[in-house]
Each structure stands twice: as C-alpha cells, then as structure tokens.
Amino acid sequence: MNNRLRFPEYTFGKRLISMFRVDFRRMFKSPLFYILIACALLIPVVMNVMMSMMDGSVSVDPQTGVETIIHGPENVWQSIGTLPTAQGAAMGGMDVMSMCNINMMFMLVAVFVCLFICADFRSGYAKNLFTVRARKGEYVVSKTLAGFICGAFMLAFYFIGAIIGGAVSGLSFEMLGFTAVNLVLCMIAKLFLMLVFVAIFVLVSVIAKQKSWLAICGSLGGGMLLFMMVSMITPLNSGLMNVFLCIAGGVLFSLCLGVFSRLVLNKTRLV
C-alpha cells in the first residue's frame, strides 16, 4: 500500500528557489516595499531642495543672540557620500548633510526586514512555511537576499532622488577629488555592505519573531553600532579595495549571522 507513496526529493537549490519565489512574490506585493522605495526617492529630493533654499540664511539663538550661518549642500554627491581627504574636507565634515545622506538607507532597510520577517510569524504563515520546510537555512538565506534586494532598490532610488533633487535645486554635478569610476565603486561597496546590516536585522528579527517593535528597536540599536563605519568604508573616492572589503565583510557577516539565525529557528518555537 505504502509503495504508492512517493516522497519528493527536492535539492537544497530547488527548495531555495521556491523560498525565493515566495519571498519575492510577497515583497513585490507588499505596500511597505513601495512606501520605502518612495521614501528613498523623496528624501534626497526634499533634503536637497530645502537645504539649498536655506543656504546662506542666518539663524539667531534667542538666548545668546549668536548668529549662525546655515550652509546648504555645495554638491550633488554630498548626498551619496563623503571624502576623507583634505581636498574634500568641506564635503566630508560631520555636518547634517554627511550624516543624513544615502547611508540612512542602511537603517531604513531595517524597517523592511523586521516587518517582513515578523509578518511571517504574526500572520501565522510561519506554520505553513516551516511545516513543509524542515531545514531553516533556506529561510534565512532567502530573507537575507530579499532584504539585500530591497536595500539595493533603496540605494538606487536614493541615488536617483539625489540627482533629481540636485538638478531641481541647481547644485553642482562636478566631481572634486574622485571620478565617475570611484562613484560607481562607492555605490557597489555600499551595496555589498548592505549584506552586513541585513544579516544583523535578520538575526534580530528571527529572535524577536512576532514582536516587530522589538525587532525594529534591536535592529536599529545593533545597526547603529556599525553605522559610523559606513561612511569610512565607502567614501566617494572608493577603490577596488573598498569593494573587496565590503564583499568580504558582507559574505562573512551574512554567513556567520546566518548560522546563528538558523540555530535560533531550530532551537526555539516557531509559533
């Protein structure tokens, strides 16, 4: 009788692909994804336009009467990164623009990863998912990749937004101290560095499970520890070494933290 029962023998690759399909279908159906992409596009436009409008204006401290001149952005690429060299000191200082640039996306992607993973547990879909998936590795890999893709989209849209905002506010597109190749390498380095952050957010989210508030707080806290590193590792004049470092870091972090995430899923209750 039991001879008629044939159990499918799926390979890891096939199971991984089906997990990707689940996650990408969900990601592209999720309003959250589009909201975050829209934010990534609009933030640099609004920031460039507003900061340019405020350029040169004087703010007076009502208590002391001290006058402060507000400096707006001088260059479109300030929204993308900073330069560590003396030549680019004006662009590389720790002012508002250098803190609130494309690197913000490393923290904003935490919102996506945490809500995306916690929704699996909150909705109860994790039951359907893990009942037919005895191995948790594919879940971790797929979620890391989905977060990475979302992060890549956010970086790309922020870049586009920065250019639109710069054009609208009449900022200079001149590249001082770096070339277009450096700029491309800088973006590639940021892209791979995203893996480090996503791996942290995935780990925190699988620990928090349905508690999305805990996942977001934990992820922002954990991400904050590495946040200052982003501008150092991915300056505007990035070279191949920066890209290599980011790839190595991304792969290493996602593998190590992925193992931890898998362990958490194996050892804790999933519902």
Binding site: N2, F7, R26, G124, L129, V132, A134, L270
Partner: protein, 299 residues
C-alpha cells in the same frame, strides 16, 4: 508502516509539562480524531509533529522516517489554530504563495481546483482580512490541501463552518483517505461531527494519551440507554432515580436510564407506580457521551 508513530513524547515549557510521555499511532488511511480538553496538549503535540516546536524528549516518526526529514515534511498539510494567511493579500495571492512554497509545478491549476473544492472560487479576489470566519477557515483548509499532502494535521478545522461547509469538509476528508495511503489527524471539540468521519480516536488528558481506539472499538464500547417521556416527568424521574443507578434528563427533555435494563421493564415499573410512559426508545451513547464518561471516570 504507520503514518505517524510517536513514542514517549514529552514537552515542557519552563516548569510546565504540556506533554508527558505520549504514545500515539496513526495508521495509514486513517482519519484520526484527536480529542482532549482545552490545554490537554493536543495543539502542542500537533505542533511537534509538524516540527513547529522542538520536542523535549521522545521520538516522532512519519511514514517510518524522523519528522525532521525534509522530504517527508514536504508532504504535510497543516491547519493549526488559525489559517496562516497574510491579511492584506487576497485569497488568491495567499494560495499562490503556499503553492510557491510547495514548489507546485502546476500551481494555478491546483489552486483553482482546491478553491472549487472548498467552494471559495468566487471569493478568490477578496482580501483575506475581509473574509468571514467561515471563509477564512475554508481558505485555511484549502491551503492545507494544496500539494496533495500525505498527512494532514488539522486543529479545529470545523470551527466557524456552516452546515454546508461541514458537509463539504466531511466529503473532502473521506475522499482524501479513500486510497488507503493518506491520513488525517483532526482535533475538534465538535465530537458529533468528528464521529461522522473518524476511523480512529486518540483521547488525551493532561498531556498523556489515555485511550486509543478504532471507530469499531468505540462502537462496541458505547453502551445503550433507554430514553423516555412520561405524562408526569418529575414523578417518573423520582421513581427511576430510586430504582436505577444512573438517570439523567437530556437537552431535549428525555429521561435517560443508562442501566442495562430492557425498556419494557422500565415501562412496567413506572406503570405499576402510576406513571404513564408516552414515548420510549433505546439508543447508543455517542462519542460525546463516551468522552464525557471517560473524563468523569478520571484517568
């Protein structure tokens, strides 16, 4: 080979022991009614079968293989506590997600077919969050049925279903197991409904399996009782109480005499004491009464 074989299964949550040395056997082709009070450990056992919570000790074998075997697990269908659907997605999208999860080659075709089976084809475009309780339950069952699972684990699948829904589910369950290979574990508090389809039963109490039996064994161990109505019901009950050991009045207002006595003896006794019997019948106790009796009797 059995579909499910559980030996000495235990699970503790901190100091609380939810399942204690549970043994359970679900034969192939069985519809296994898994019965117990709230908090008796049914859901915990089902979750352990599906690998959703790690066991503290014991073994769970599905079709002769450990329940951590990825290939065996790929042929499980589950509905535990609530259908795991994303509220903001449509019924169709939720079904397609599960179809992707199961790597179904002909996903659309299967989803359409199963939605038809549970009579949800007209509501496929509805957002899940806008569905009624009964519709949500049907979607949950449909998701569990996707991919023709060999073992279905259903926790309270009949909750929220209307009479037609329950009839459809009975037909679906019977249809699934008719090839003798597929099995279903159903836990439900609707014992009357469960009795209509179950071929095997497992009764759990305080995390321990206190009885496992087939439907035939249940039938054999269910006693008959005499139910009657009389012109003077209160006097009849008083008289019967004084003569027989167990007399109860049921929800429909009939006096039930559970002692093994022929109905004519009851009628004669009441007649001799001036009470006229207007209606009398003999019936067998059902699963519900059997279960209540068993629970009253302790372990």
């Amino acid at each position: 080979m059995n579909a499910v074989e559980i030996k000495n299964l235990s699970k503790s949550f901190g100091s609380k022991q939810a399942v204690r040395g549970l043994d359970m056997t679900v034969p192939m082709g069985a519809i296994y009614g898994f019965i117990g009070e709230n908090g008796s450990g049914k859901s915990t056992t089902e979750k352990m079968i599906c690998g959703l919570i790690p066991k503290s000790s014991g073994s769970i074998r599905l079709y002769g293989k450990d329940n951590t075997d990825a290939n065996v697990r790929a042929k499980l269908g589950v509905l535990i506590e609530s259908p795991g659907c994303f509220p903001e997605l449509s019924v169709w999208d939720n079904m397609m997600l599960q179809a992707e999860n199961l790597s179904l080659p002909d996903a659309k075709k299967q989803v359409i077919s199963i939605l038809k089976t549970v009579r949800m084809e007209g509501a496929a475009s509805n957002k899940y969050k806008n569905c009624s309780l009964g519709m949500k339950q049907r979607v949950g069952i449909a998701m569990a049925l996707l991919g023709n699972p060999y073992l279905l684990v259903l926790d309270e699948p009949l909750n929220g279903l209307d009479a037609d829904g329950m009839r459809i589910m009975r037909e679906v369950f019977t249809d699934i197991v008719k090839d003798g290979n597929r099995s279903i574990i159903v836990s439900s508090h609707l014992l009357g409904e469960l009795q209509k389809v179950a071929t095997h039963y497992g009764i759990i109490r305080h995390g321990r399996m206190i009885r496992e039996m087939t439907a035939q064994e249940l039938d054999a161990s269910c006693r008959t009782y005499t139910a009657l109505q009389a012109k003077d019901m209160s006097r009849a009950k008083l008289l019967l109480n004084s003569k027989y050991s167990r007399v109860e009045v049921d929800e429909a207002g009939y006096i039930r005499v559970y002692d093994p006595v022929p109905p004519e003896a009851v009628v004669t006794y009441l007649y001799e004491n001036g009470v006229i019997v207007t209606e009398i019948m003999t019936e067998k106790i059902g699963l519900e009464e059997y279960y209540i009796d068993l629970m009253k009797g302790g372990n």
